[in-house]
């Protein structure tokens, strides 16, 4: 019975116990997801999916592994840590950042102790070999060159006893010193340019330069070759001897002996080391030497107008055809291997004199026919002409060169002649013809008036003084130019002197014209001019025809109308009267008299005899008599009158 009680108590006790809190895997997953989602819990899943890791734990594990192995590839880690490679890579970088003695490079984590270990290894190898190229090390340890170099450099002096020299080679000091000593000995023994092939190429350039700059050895180093000073001195001496002996120095000789390939460098060297000469095409020569040759050429040209360089002169072989130019004096011409003097060229040009003028003439007529093209004689034709004339009995080679030289000269001559002709043609410009035509119209007016009006003398004097004088001076200028005296401005002072320059037949005609001018006889002047026009060159005029006359009259009227309009707008009384009268009688009277008292009176008189004594003329006379009067009443009267005239004129 006791036992039953105990069992009952046990049953009750068991039932009172807290039951274990048991969660299913599904619930756990959900809870974890909730924590990750809502409470920013960071977790890393294992590859098997049965465990979670915190990033911190993963990083700790990574660090432990790296320190254990020294160097570990990330690809090997998933197997060890049971975590995906992406996660490992992500956290490996963090580990490398956080931890000073772990580095991440090329997908590998490397611990500092590993680097120390390889540094010891490197130092051991270096002690054996004396030098160790970095490329070998990068290959051996499969690490990037710069990375490895930096890590090695950081351990130089502590673990590694050596230095980097050029070309990324690691050397021990002992090795470098021994090499320098060997090099010094070798170079001191050198007599000729020597290639330093048997030495350590990564040390040679710097060590040789140091030796040279420290003056331990004398010479120069270039492109792996050492040239001792002794050798240079010897060569220089040889070149100098040659130059002193021959007065010239062929470039080829110097190039070969000095082992220089470029000509500018060679010229520089010569200028610096030799000097005192002139550079020719292929050689360097003393100035005196060139002067001597010049003298020879000059002498030969004095005797012959044409010399053959090869046969007539004894020039040294260093003188090339291109150098001849520098040997001849001005005026003399080089053609191939020939030199000819001025005389020779002139003779040659004489052969073409006719042809040149003919071509110039043709070109002129072509130009009138609007045909374009540069006037010239073809080279072949020049050559043929020279050959035909057996010029100087020279050979064909010379003639060819000569024709090359003559061609531009001939072309220039043709152009010059052509331009001269064109200028002469320009002289018979229409301006003088127009002036003469106008003069003839004026004379006709005089002829017409003479029946009704007698006081013509002032008009004739005025015409002579103005238009006749102008026509004569222009005529004289044209004749002077045509006779080749150039453009000279003629006036009454130099007129007679200028006439004297002309040929006699012209002088005669012009003097006759002068006589007519002196007697103030424009009509006589025109008559004389027309009589002799056949004998006057360039200028050509004939008696003015009706058509031209009408044109001139029309132009005069147009001009007067516009002037009158201007004056009407400005209320210039005097001018208004003056232009109005001139316009009214323009059909009978073409002479341009000035706005002066005498002319106004004559104008009124002519107006009276031609148009009649109308209101207008009375009005004009009144105005002429009074337009200087300043009485305002008079002004008003004049103004009214002018208004009438204006309406009359416009009507």
């Amino acid at each position: 019975m006791e036992e039953l009680k105990r069992l009952k108590a046990q049953l009750m006790q068991v039932q009172q116990k807290q039951s274990a809190n048991r969660l299913t895997d599904r619930n756990i997953v959900e809870i974890v997801n909730k924590l990750v989602g809502n409470y920013s819990l960071e977790l890393v899943f294992t590859l098997s999916g049965k465990e979670y890791l915190t990033p911190k734990r993963l990083e700790q594990e990574i660090e432990q592994e790296v320190k254990k192995h020294g160097r570990i590839n990330l690809i090997d880690m998933p197997g060890i840590l049971n975590v995906g490679v992406e996660q490992i890579e992500k956290h490996a970088i963090i580990v490398a950042d956080k931890t000073s003695d772990v580095e991440f490079i090329n997908g590998q984590l490397i611990a500092n102790n590993y680097l120390d270990m390889i540094a010891q290894e490197i130092n051991e190898t270096l002690e054996e070999t004396g030098q160790l190229p970095l490329s070998d090390l990068t290959y051996k340890y499969s690490l990037p060159m710069q990375y490895l170099k930096d890590r090695i450099e950081a351990r130089i002096g502590t673990i590694i006893y050596g230095h980097f020299k050029q070309n990324n080679v690691l050397f021990t000091d002992v090795y470098v010193q021994r090499h320098l000593a060997k090099l010094r000995g070798f170079l001191r023994g050198c007599e000729k340019p020597t290639e330093l092939k048997n030495f350590d190429q990564s040390l040679v350039p710097n060590q040789v330069k140091d030796l040279i700059s420290n003056k331990e050895i004398a010479g120069s180093y270039q492109n792996g070759t050492f040239t001792p000073s002794v050798y240079l001195d010897n060569i220089k001496k040889e070149i100098e001897d040659f130059f002193a002996l021959n007065s010239y120095l062929p470039y080829d000789f110097v190039k070969k002996i000095m082992n220089i390939t470029s000509t500018p460098a060679l010229k520089n060297w010569i200028n610096k080391e030799i000097g005192g000469g002139i550079h020719l095409e292929n050689s360097y020569a003393k100035s005196e030497f060139i002067e001597k040759l010049r003298g020879e050429v000059k002498e030969a040209l004095e005797q012959h107008s044409l010399i053959n360089v090869n046969t007539d002169l004894n020039l040294p072989t260093c003188i090339e055809q291109e150098d001849l130019e520098s040997l001849v004096e001005e005026g003399n011409t080089v053609a191939g291997y020939y030199i000819c003097n001025e005389n020779c060229i002139k003779k040659a040009l004489d052969l073409f004199k006719n042809k040149i003028s003919l071509t110039a003439e043709e070109t002129k007529s072509n130009a009138k026919g609007k045909k374009s093209g540069t006037p010239t004689i073809p080279k072949q034709e020049i050559l043929n002409t020279l050959a035909k004339a057996r010029f100087q009995n020279a050979d064909e080679e010379f003639l060819e060169s000569l024709s090359e030289i003559l061609y531009p000269k001939i072309s220039r001559l043709i152009v010059e002649q052509f331009e001269q002709r064109s200028q002469t043609a320009d002289l018979d410009s229409p301006s003088i013809v127009q002036e003469i035509n106008y003069l003839m119209v004026c004379c006709k007016s005089l002829g017409g008036l003479s029946k009704k009006y007698t006081n013509l003398k002032p008009l004739k004097a005025h015409l002579t003084k103005t238009i006749v004088n102008k026509v004569f001076n222009q005529l004289l200028e044209i004749q002077l130019k045509n006779q080749g005296f150039g453009s000279i401005s003629v006036n009454s002072n130099n007129r007679q002197a200028m006439i004297e320059r002309l040929p006699e037949y012209l002088r005669e005609i012009l003097n006759k014209l002068v006589a007519k001018m002196s007697s103030k006889d424009p009509e006589g002047f025109i008559a004389e001019l027309l009589d002799n026009i056949k004998d006057i060159p360039v200028v050509s005029v004939k008696q003015v025809d009706k058509k031209t006359e009408r044109l001139i009259t029309h132009k005069i009227k147009q001009d007067l109308k516009s002037r009158l309009d201007e004056c009407l707008n400005e209320n210039k009384y005097g001018e208004i009267v003056y232009f109005a009268m001139k316009l009214k009688i323009a059909n009978f009277f073409a002479i341009d008299v000035p706005f002066e008292d005498w002319a106004l009176r004559i104008l009124t008189e002519i107006y009276e005899v031609t148009i009649g004594n109308d209101e207008a003329v009375q009005c004009f006379r009144f105005i002429i008599d009074n337009f200087k009067n300043e009485d305002p009443e008079m002004h008003e009267r004049i103004e009214n009158m002018l208004r009438d005239i204006r309406s009359q004129l416009s009507g």
């Binding site: 069992l7 068991v14 039932q15 039951s19």
Partner: protein, 157 residues
């Protein structure tokens, strides 16, 4: 995987309350119940609390069922019949009396169809623990959600 019912120790003493061996039988009943409760607790799945009188014939307690995060708790009582273990125990949930037709008058749950044949086949080796595990447990799981859906019982009833 063997079910919870299979893991409850089988009983050996074939004796009812009126038999002289009842105490032995009762000892076995306690042992089986304790074992079952421990198993349930280990799986965080305990769902009843019962207490016998000294004779081990009258039992009272509570059973509960969790549906959609809400715990529904009911009183539980039963009596060991005189013909036990040939006759199975009649489990009574008085609060649910009249609320479902899957129940006899007086709140006895209906076990005829499923459990009674199993019991008659297994007796006398099945005991109280088996009855709770294989009869009341499934009945609650089948009926309570229906009753909740029907609104017959609510969270606070």
């Amino acid at each position: 995987m063997e079910s919870a019912g299979d893991r409850i120790p089988l009983l050996t003493v074939n004796a009812g309350p009126r038999d002289p061996n009842w105490a032995d039988r009762l000892r076995e009943e306690y042992a089986a119940l304790i074992r079952y409760i421990e198993m349930s607790q280990a799986e965080d799945n305990d769902w009843f609390l019962i207490e016998p009188d000294d004779s081990g014939i009258h039992w009272r307690g509570k059973c509960w069922y969790i549906h959609e995060l809400v715990k529904y708790e009911f009183n539980l009582e039963f009596e060991i019949p005189a013909t036990y273990p040939a006759t199975p125990i009649e489990l009574v949930l008085p609060e649910l009396d009249g609320k479902t037709h899957k129940m006899y008058r007086g709140g006895k749950i209906c076990l005829d169809i499923h459990f009674a044949p199993l019991w008659s086949r297994k007796q006398p080796s099945y005991g109280i623990a088996h009855a709770l595990c294989l009869a009341l447990g499934p009945w609650l799981a089948a009926e309570i959600p229906v009753l909740i859906d029907q609104g017959v019982i609510t969270a606070n009833s």
